[in-house]
Amino acid sequence: MYHKEKSIQIKNSASALYNNLSVLRIAPRRLTHFTVVHANMVNMVSASWDGLNYTHRQLQSKEPNVATSTSLIMQAAFCVLPSRDLLVVTSQKGIQMYESDGSIMVYWHALDTPETPTAQAVFARGIAAVYENYICVGVSSGAILVFDVPSKGSNITLSEVLEEHKESITDMASECSGSQECIANLVTADDGGNLCVWKSGEEFQLLNKIPGFDMSCSSVKLWKGTAVAGYGTGQIRLYEAVTGILHAEINAHARWIYSVDIAPFSGLLLSAAEDSLVRVWHMTITPETNSVEVVHLHNECVTDTQICGARFCDGDGYAFAVTGYDLSEIIRYIQS
C-alpha cells in the first residue's frame, strides 16, 4: 500500500518525546516544512516538492538567563489559523511562537518556575490551533493557556487559563474535518488518560470529561466529533467526544504509543509506538447514525527504532513521515 521513499537527513537525532514531528504543507510555494525536536533545539527542514531543494534551520530554546541550565524543549508544532500559520515551541521555561518559516520569534511567554525546584517538573506540552484565532498550550500542572492571536503582528495575548485537568497535559487537538457544524472543537489529554472536550470562544466551554484509567494518553486527534486517543498501554480508543461513548477499542501496539495522526479528507489514521511499528488504519464515521468502523490497512517496521513522531504529509494521507529516537532522519512513505 505504501513504499519507502528517500529519507530527509536532519542535523541532529530526534529526542524521545511524544508527537515529535510536525509537518506544514505550503501548496503555493510547493514545499513542506518539517520540525523535529532534539534536546534544546528544533530542527527545521523545508523540502521542495520536486525533491531537489532542502533548507535547514535550527531554533534554540529561549533561556531568560544564560547562567542557568539549558531548557529542554518538549514539543514543536505548526499552528494553522485562518489568517496565518505559526510555529509554536514549548519548553521547560516557556512558550515561543515563531513565523512558520522559523525566521522571527513573534511571542514569548515565560512559565512560572518556583524559586527552589519542586519534585513536580515544570514544562509546557500540548499545542493546538483552535477556531477561530486561538492557540492553546498545555502545562505540566494540568492548566491550559489560551492565547488570542491577531491576524498579523505580535500582539498575542493570554486570553484565558483553563483549569480542569489535574495531571500534566500530554497532547491536544482541534477538530480537523473542516466542518463548522461540530459542537466540540478542541480535545485535551493528560498523563492520567483523561480527556476534556471543549468549545472555543471568548470563554471556552467544557462540554465533556472522559475519564482515563490511570494510563497516560500521549497523543490525541479530533475528527468528525470523534476523539481518537493513543495510550501508554498501546491501545487506541475512539470516543464520541461530546457524549463520551466508546465506539471502538484497538489493541494496536505492544508498547507505548507516541503519535496518532489523521488525514481528514480520507479518514486514514496513522499510529506509531515504541515497538518500532507504524500502522495505517481507515475510519468510517457517520455522525448521523452514530456508527463507527475501523479497519487495519498497513504496517511499516522501522527496525530497532522507538518511533516518536508520525504524521501524514497531506490531507488525503497519500504520504506520511516518521521520526525515531536517536535517528537523524525523517523517513518518508508514499502510497504505491
Binding site: 524521545a16 547562567a67 519542586t118 519534585a119 498523563d191 501508554g232 471502538a248 505492544a254 507505548w256 536517536d326
Partner: protein, 364 residues
C-alpha cells in the same frame, strides 16, 4: 524535564560500575579481603545518608561531565585510583549498559525494578558487612517511598529525560555485540516479539461497540510481530523476585574481554547542557555532592593499595575537564577536600600490590 532522575541515575550507573569493578577484581584473582574492602568503601560512600539525601532533592540532570566527576570521586572513595582514560572507558561502559536497560525496558515502571535489581546485587557484594547492608536497605526504603507513588506518565517523563541524556551515544561494547543485543553500528536490537508489558494486551484486535457499550463486532488484524501475553509482575518491595533480568549483573569472570569498548565510526562526542562554562546551579550541585561524600570511618591502615596517579586531587580534577574555567572551579571544589584529607593520608611508597591494581584498571 523530570526533577527526580539523580537517585536512579546514581544507583544504576553506580551499580554498573560495581559490577565491572567486581569482574575486574575477580579476573585478577584479588583476595576476598581486598575485594570486599573496595566494594565496602564505594558502597558505603554511595549509599551514605548524606549523599543519598542530596540526590533525592528535586533537581535537574546535569551534564555528563558533572556525573563523571562525581562517579570518579565515588570510585576513589576506595583504594583505587583511575586515570582519565580508564575512567572514560569505565564511564562509557556504565552509560551504555544503563542506556540499554532504559531503552529496552517494557514499560516505564520497570525502571524501578531495574534499580532494585542493581540494589539487590549490591547488597550481595557487601553482605558480610552489616553496616553497608543497612545503608543499602535504608536507601532502598527511601527510593520505594519516593517513587512508588509516581504515575506511569511521570515515570515515562523520567525515562524520556534519561533517554535524552543518553542520546547519540553508540559506543560498541564487546559483550553486547557478542550477545547480539547491540548491532555493529552501535544501536540496540529491538525485536517485535516476546511478552508485552504488564497492562498491555497482545496487539491484533479491533472491537466496535454500540451506544450502550455492547460489543457489536470484533475483527483481528495482522500485527507484524509475534508477541505473547505479559509475564507476571516483579516485586516492588524491599526484597522479592524482580522477574525482569534488566539490571542484573551481565559480567562473568570467564570473559575478561567483555569490558572492551570501541567507538562506532560516526559516533559524536556527547555534549549535554551548556558546553562552557558549567552552569552555576551545576557547580553548586557538584559542590554539594562532593561535600556529602565524606566517608564516616576513614580506615586507619591503608598501606600499599593507595596509589595515586596524580599528586593531588587538584591535578586530577583538571584532567577531567577540557575548558579552563570549569577546570579551575572543579579543582577548587576538589581542593577543599584535599586539605582535610592530607592529615589522614601519610605518604606511603607504592608496592607490588598497588601496581597490580593499577594494571588491572588499565585493562578497562
Amino acid at each position: 524535564m523530570s526533577m527526580r532522575t539523580l537517585p536512579l541515575v546514581f544507583i544504576n550507573l553506580g551499580g554498573e560500575m560495581l559490577y565491572i569493578l567486581d569482574q575486574r577484581l575477580r579476573a585478577h584473582n584479588t583476595s576476598e579481603d581486598n575485594s570486599e574492602k573496595v566494594m565496602n568503601d564505594i558502597v558505603g560512600t554511595m549509599f551514605s545518608k548524606a549523599f543519598m539525601d542530596e540526590l533525592l532533592k528535586p533537581q535537574q540532570l546535569y551534564s555528563h561531565r558533572t556525573l563523571k566527576t562525581v562517579l570518579t570521586r565515588l570510585a576513589h572513595a576506595s583504594i583505587m585510583r583511575l586515570n582519565p582514560a580508564s575512567m572514560d572507558r569505565l564511564y562509557e561502559l556504565m552509560v551504555m549498559a544503563f542506556k540499554y536497560q532504559v531503552f529496552l525496558c517494557l514499560r516505564p515502571k520497570d525502571l524501578l525494578l531495574i534499580s532494585y535489581n542493581h540494589m539487590d546485587t549490591i547488597r550481595e557484594f557487601v553482605k558480610d558487612t552489616p553496616m553497608a547492608v543497612n545503608q543499602v536497605d535504608e536507601t532502598h526504603r527511601k527510593i520505594i517511598e519516593a517513587y512508588s507513588s509516581l504515575s506511569e506518565g511521570e515515570l515515562q517523563l523520567l525515562r524520556q529525560t534519561l533517554l535524552t541524556f543518553f542520546q547519540d551515544m553508540h559506543v560498541r561494547v564487546s559483550l553486547f555485540l557478542k550477545d547480539q543485543i547491540q548491532n555493529p553500528n552501535g544501536r540496540f536490537a529491538l525485536t517485535t516479539s516476546g511478552p508485552v508489558p504488564h497492562g498491555t494486551d497482545v496487539p491484533g484486535l479491533i472491537r466496535i461497540f454500540d451506544c450502550r457499550g455492547r460489543e457489536v463486532r470484533r475483527r483481528e488484524f495482522r500485527s507484524g510481530g509475534s508477541y505473547t501475553s505479559s509475564i507476571r509482575e516483579g516485586s516492588f518491595e524491599l526484597h522479592g523476585n524482580r522477574v525482569i533480568r534488566l539490571g542484573m549483573n551481565m559480567y562473568t569472570v570467564d570473559h575478561p574481554e567483555e569490558t572492551h569498548t570501541s567507538r562506532a565510526p560516526s559516533v559524536k562526542v556527547i555534549t549535554y547542557g551548556s558546553p562552557n562554562p558549567l552552569a552555576k546551579e551545576e557547580l553548586n550541585l557538584l559542590a554539594r555532592l562532593m561535600g556529602s561524600m565524606k566517608t564516616e570511618n576513614k580506615p586507619k591502615d591503608e598501606s600499599g593499595f593507595r596509589i595515586n596517579l596524580f599528586n593531588t586531587d587538584k591535578e586530577e580534577a583538571e584532567f577531567l575537564v577540557q575548558d579552563e574555567q570549569a577546570a579551575s572551579e572543579l579543582a577548587r571544589i576538589a581542593g577543599q577536600f584535599e586539605e582535610e584529607e592530607e592529615e589522614e593520608k601519610p605518604e606511603k611508597p607504592s608496592n607490588n600490590k598497588g601496581e597490580e591494581l593499577l594494571a588491572m584498571m588499565d585493562d578497562l
